[in-house]
C-alpha cells in the first residue's frame, strides 16, 4: 500500500509599499522580499482602500481563472476569520482588505452575489465585530451582504470520518452547503496551540446534529470541512500572529488541508502534533509543494509562539495571595480572588 501523499499550495507575495516600481515589479516578485528602503514603505496602512488596491493584483494572480463552481453559482459565500474585533494589523483576524480584494475579484469575474459570513459568539455579536472591523464599507462597495450564521443551522448532514466507524451528524447553515465556499482564515494559532486555519474556521460555524451529543473542536473542524468541501481556501498571511505579529506579506491558496499544513509548518509546529491535520493526512509521508514563494526563507522569519496568557490570575497565585492575606490581615484584590 502506498500511503504517500502530495499537497499543492500556491502563494503570492503582497507588496505593501506604495511605489509604482514595486507594483510594476510584482510579476517577478514572487519570492518573499520586503522593500524597507523607502520612508514608510512597509508600514501598516490604516486606509482599507489603499490596502485593497495593493491586494488586487496578487489576489487575481493567486486565484487565476475562476473555477466552474464559482462561474455557475448564483451566490458565493466568503468565510473569513471574524471571531472577534482584534485589529487586523495584529494578524489575529483576517484583514478585511483581503476579503475585499477577493470579493472584488469574484464580483468582477462572476455574476454571483456575494455573502460574507461569520458567526456570533458568546463574547460578541457578529454585527458588532464586523462593524468594528469595517465590513460595512465592503458591503456597500462590493454589493455583498453580511450574514450571521450562528442562528442558521438549517440542515442536518451526516459525515463519515476516516478514523471512526460511527458517522458524525452536523447541523450546518445552508449558506455553506448550497453555495460555493471560499474560506479565508488568517495565519494564527488557536489558544490551545495549533493553527486556527481553514478547517477550524469552518468548524466554528457548525454544531453537533444531535442535541446534547458532544463533539470536540477538532472533530467538528474535520467534519465541517468534509461536509462543506470548500472550493477554495485563501490563507491570509499578510500579517501573521504567533506570539508576536509579523508582516509576512503573503497569501496562500489551496484546499483546506493543504493551506493548513503549509500554515502549520510556517508557524513552526509539527503537523503530527495537530490532531486534525495528522488524522486527515493519515499515515505515510506527505509532501507539500508550495509554489510562488521562498517557503523556507519565510518559515525562518515567521514567529512560532502562542497567544498571550490569559489575564485571569493563575490559581496558584490566587491561593498564595489568599494565604498571605490571611496571615498579614491584608485585603485580597478582586482580581486575585480564588473563585473569580
Amino acid at each position: 500500500m502506498n500511503d504517500d501523499r502530495s499537497l499543492s499550495v500556491s502563494s503570492v507575495s503582497v507588496p505593501r509599499a506604495n511605489s509604482k516600481g514595486q507594483l510594476a515589479a510584482r510579476e517577478s516578485a514572487l519570492e518573499v522580499t520586503t522593500e524597507r528602503s523607502q520612508a514608510g514603505g512597509n508600514n501598516w496602512t490604516p486606509a482599507i482602500d489603499a490596502r485593497m488596491a495593493r491586494l488586487e493584483g496578487p489576489v487575481r494572480e493567486l486565484i487565476g481563472s475562476v473555477p466552474d463552481p464559482f462561474a455557475d453559482a448564483a451566490e458565493i459565500t466568503l468565510l473569513p476569520d471574524v471571531h472577534y474585533p482584534f485589529h487586523p494589523s495584529t494578524g489575529m483576524v483576517t484583514d478585511p482588505a483581503v476579503v475585499g480584494a477577493v470579493a472584488g475579484y469574484l464580483g468582477n469575474e462572476t455574476s454571483a452575489d456575494l455573502v460574507v459570513a461569520g458567526s456570533s459568539t458568546e463574547s460578541m455579536d457578529l454585527d458588532r465585530t464586523t462593524d468594528y472591523l469595517g465590513y460595512p464599507a465592503l458591503e456597500e462597495r462590493f454589493d455583498c451582504r453580511l450574514r450571521d450564521l450562528s442562528s442558521d443551522r438549517d440542515s442536518r448532514v451526516t459525515v463519515s470520518l476516516s478514523d471512526s466507524e460511527a458517522p458524525v451528524e452536523l447541523s450546518i447553515p445552508d449558506l455553506l452547503l448550497e453555495n460555493p465556499v471560499v474560506v479565508v482564515p488568517t495565519l494564527r494559532p488557536t489558544e490551545a496551540g495549533p493553527i486556527a486555519g481553514a478547517m477550524r474556521t469552518l468548524g466554528r460555524h457548525v454544531e453537533p446534529g444531535v442535541e446534547g451529543r458532544g463533539l470536540s473542536d477538532d472533530r467538528r473542524a474535520r467534519a465541517a470541512t468534509n461536509a462543506v468541501e470548500p472550493e477554495l481556501s485563501i490563507l491570509d498571511a499578510t500579517t501573521v500572529f504567533a506570539g508576536e505579529a509579523f508582516a509576512a506579506e503573503t497569501l496562500f491558496a489551496g484546499d483546506p488541508l493543504g493551506v493548513d499544513t503549509a500554515g502549520t509548518t510556517l508557524l513552526g509546529r509539527d503537523v503530527n502534533d495537530d490532531a486534525v491535520l495528522s488524522t486527515e493526512l493519515g499515515p505515510g509521508q506527505t509532501s507539500i509543494q508550495v509554489s510562488g514563494c521562498d517557503f523556507d526563507a519565510l518559515r525562518d522569519r515567521v514567529p512560532s509562539g502562542d497567544l498571550p496568557p490569559r489575564t485571569t490570575t493563575h490559581p496558584a497565585v490566587s491561593i498564595a495571595y489568599g494565604l498571605y492575606a490571611k496571615v498579614s490581615g491584608d485585603a485580597v484584590p478582586p482580581q486575585l480572588e480564588v473563585d473569580r
Binding site: 490604516p46 471571531h83 472577534y84 474585533p85 482584534f86 485589529h87 495584529t90 489575529m92 459568539t121 458568546e122 463574547s123 460578541m124 458588532r128 462593524d131 468594528y132 472591523l133 469595517g134 460595512p136 489558544e191 500572529f241 497567544l307 498571550p308 496568557p309 490569559r310 489575564t311 485571569t312 495571595y321 498571605y324 496571615v327 498579614s328 490581615g329 491584608d330 485585603a331 485580597v332 484584590p333 478582586p334 482580581q335 473563585d339
Partner: protein, 366 residues
C-alpha cells in the same frame, strides 16, 4: 426634595458607606472600604446578579439590585458611585436628596454641563463630592512630581505623558464578553480622552498648574464609535512647559505591566516616572508582603493591597476622601477638579473637530 439630617461625624465614628456598582472598579472600592479602619460597609447595589453575588460573598450585609432603592433605604454617610458614567448624574442627584456625600469614579460626568448639574445638586444639598483620580496616588507619578518639585532637573521646557491600555475589547485570548457601553458615546461622553485622558489632565494640572490646550488630534484604530487614540498639545504657562499627552485604548496590556509614563525634559537632564517604580514588580510585591506579615505580628496595620501598588492607589484615594469627610474638610480631589478635566476634554474635542473640518475643506478645494 426629601428632608434629611446630616450626621456630624467624630473621629471615632464609623463612616457608613454604600457602594453603588460592583463591577470591575466598584469591586476594588468595595474591598478597599471593607479593609478600611473606621468604615462600615452598610450595603451595595448592582443590576448584574454576578456582581451582587460578589458583594454578598465579600461580606456585605444588604445587597440591592437598584442603587436608588439602596440610597432611599439605607442610612449612609458616603456613597461610592462606581456606576457607568451615564448613571453618575442621577446617582449624585439621588444621593444629594438623601444628604449623602459622594465619591465618584472617573470620568466625573459625560460633559461639563452634566457636571454642573451634579455640582449644583450637591451644593444645594450641602453634600461633599470627591472624584477618584488615582494617578495622584501612584508611587511612580508622585515620585516624579516630588523629584520635579525638588528641582532635580531644573526648568522643564517639555513634558510628555503617555497612557495606553487595551480598552474594553482587551487582547487575545478572548475571555469575557465586553460590555457595549464603554464604546457608546451617549453612555460615556467620549473615548480614550474620557476614559484615560481625564486622569492624565488631572495629574498634569496637579503637577504643572493650569493647562491651556493648543491643539488636539483624535483617531480610531478600529471602526468604533468613540476615539481610541488621542494626542493633545498643551502649554503650562506657570512653569513655561510645553506638554504633550497621548492616550489610547488600543494596545494589548499584560498586567502587571501598565503603559503609563511621564517624561520631563529638564535643563540638567531627563527624568521619567518609570524610574520611580520598583524595578522588579514581583520582588517588590514579595517584600511588601513580608513587611505586612511582620507588621501583623508587631501590632501594626497592614498596607492594604500592599503588594499591588496600582490597587493601593485606589485604596489611598478612597482613604483620603473618607478621612476628609470624617474631618469635615474639603475632599482632596473635588467635584470641581473632576469637572475641570472634562472641560479640557471638551476643548480637545473642539480643536480636533476644527482640524478635521479644515482638512475636509482643503480636500474639497484641491
Amino acid at each position: 426634595m426629601r428632608s434629611f439630617i446630616r450626621r456630624r461625624l467624630s473621629r471615632s465614628d464609623s463612616v457608613r458607606i454604600g457602594v453603588l456598582g460592583v463591577g470591575n472598579i466598584g469591586s476594588v472600592h468595595l474591598k478597599s472600604a471593607l479593609a478600611m479602619p473606621g468604615v462600615d460597609v452598610v450595603a451595595a447595589a448592582d443590576t448584574v446578579p454576578k456582581n451582587r453575588d460578589r458583594a454578598d460573598s465579600a461580606g456585605v450585609t444588604r445587597v440591592y439590585d437598584d442603587y436608588v432603592t439602596l440610597l432611599e433605604s439605607e442610612t449612609l454617610d458616603v456613597a461610592i458611585v462606581a456606576l457607568p458614567p451615564f448613571l453618575h448624574c442621577d446617582a449624585v442627584e439621588v444621593a444629594a436628596e438623601t444628604g449623602v456625600d459622594v465619591f465618584v469614579e472617573k470620568p466625573f460626568a459625560r460633559s461639563t454641563a452634566e457636571a454642573d448639574e451634579m455640582l449644583e445638586a450637591a451644593s444645594e444639598a450641602g453634600i461633599r463630592v470627591g472624584v477618584d483620580h488615582t494617578l495622584r496616588y501612584q508611587p511612580d507619578l508622585t515620585g516624579l512630581k516630588g523629584a520635579y518639585e525638588d528641582g532635580t532637573v531644573g526648568h522643564v521646557p517639555h513634558a510628555s505623558m503617555v497612557r495606553v491600555n487595551d480598552g474594553p475589547l482587551g487582547r487575545p485570548p478572548v475571555e469575557d464578553a465586553p460590555p457595549a457601553w464603554p464604546l457608546d458615546p451617549d453612555a460615556t461622553g467620549g473615548g480614550s480622552l474620557m476614559e484615560l485622558g481625564v486622569h492624565c489632565f488631572d495629574y498634569l494640572e496637579w503637577t504643572f498648574g493650569p493647562l491651556e490646550i493648543r491643539d488636539a488630534m483624535i483617531d480610531t484604530t478600529l471602526e468604533v464609535p468613540v476615539e481610541d487614540a488621542a494626542t493633545v498639545l498643551m502649554e503650562a504657562r506657570e512653569t513655561g512647559t510645553a506638554v504633550t499627552l497621548h492616550c489610547g485604548s488600543y494596545q494589548w496590556e499584560e498586567l502587571p505591566e501598565v503603559n503609563t509614563n511621564v517624561r520631563l525634559e529638564g535643563i540638567t537632564g531627563t527624568i521619567e516616572s518609570e524610574e520611580y517604580l520598583p524595578t522588579n514588580f514581583y520582588g517588590s510585591a514579595a517584600l511588601s508582603a513580608l513587611s505586612n506579615v511582620a507588621s501583623r505580628f508587631t501590632g501594626g496595620d497592614p498596607a492594604v493591597y500592599g503588594p499591588t501598588f496600582y490597587l493601593q492607589a485606589h485604596y489611598d484615594a478612597l482613604f483620603d476622601f473618607v478621612d476628609s469627610i470624617r474631618a469635615d474638610e474639603t475632599p482632596p480631589v473635588t467635584g470641581e477638579d473632576g469637572r475641570r478635566t472634562l472641560e479640557l476634554v471638551e476643548t480637545a474635542y473642539e480643536l480636533a473637530d476644527e482640524d478635521c473640518a479644515e482638512a475636509d475643506a482643503l480636500e474639497v478645494v484641491s
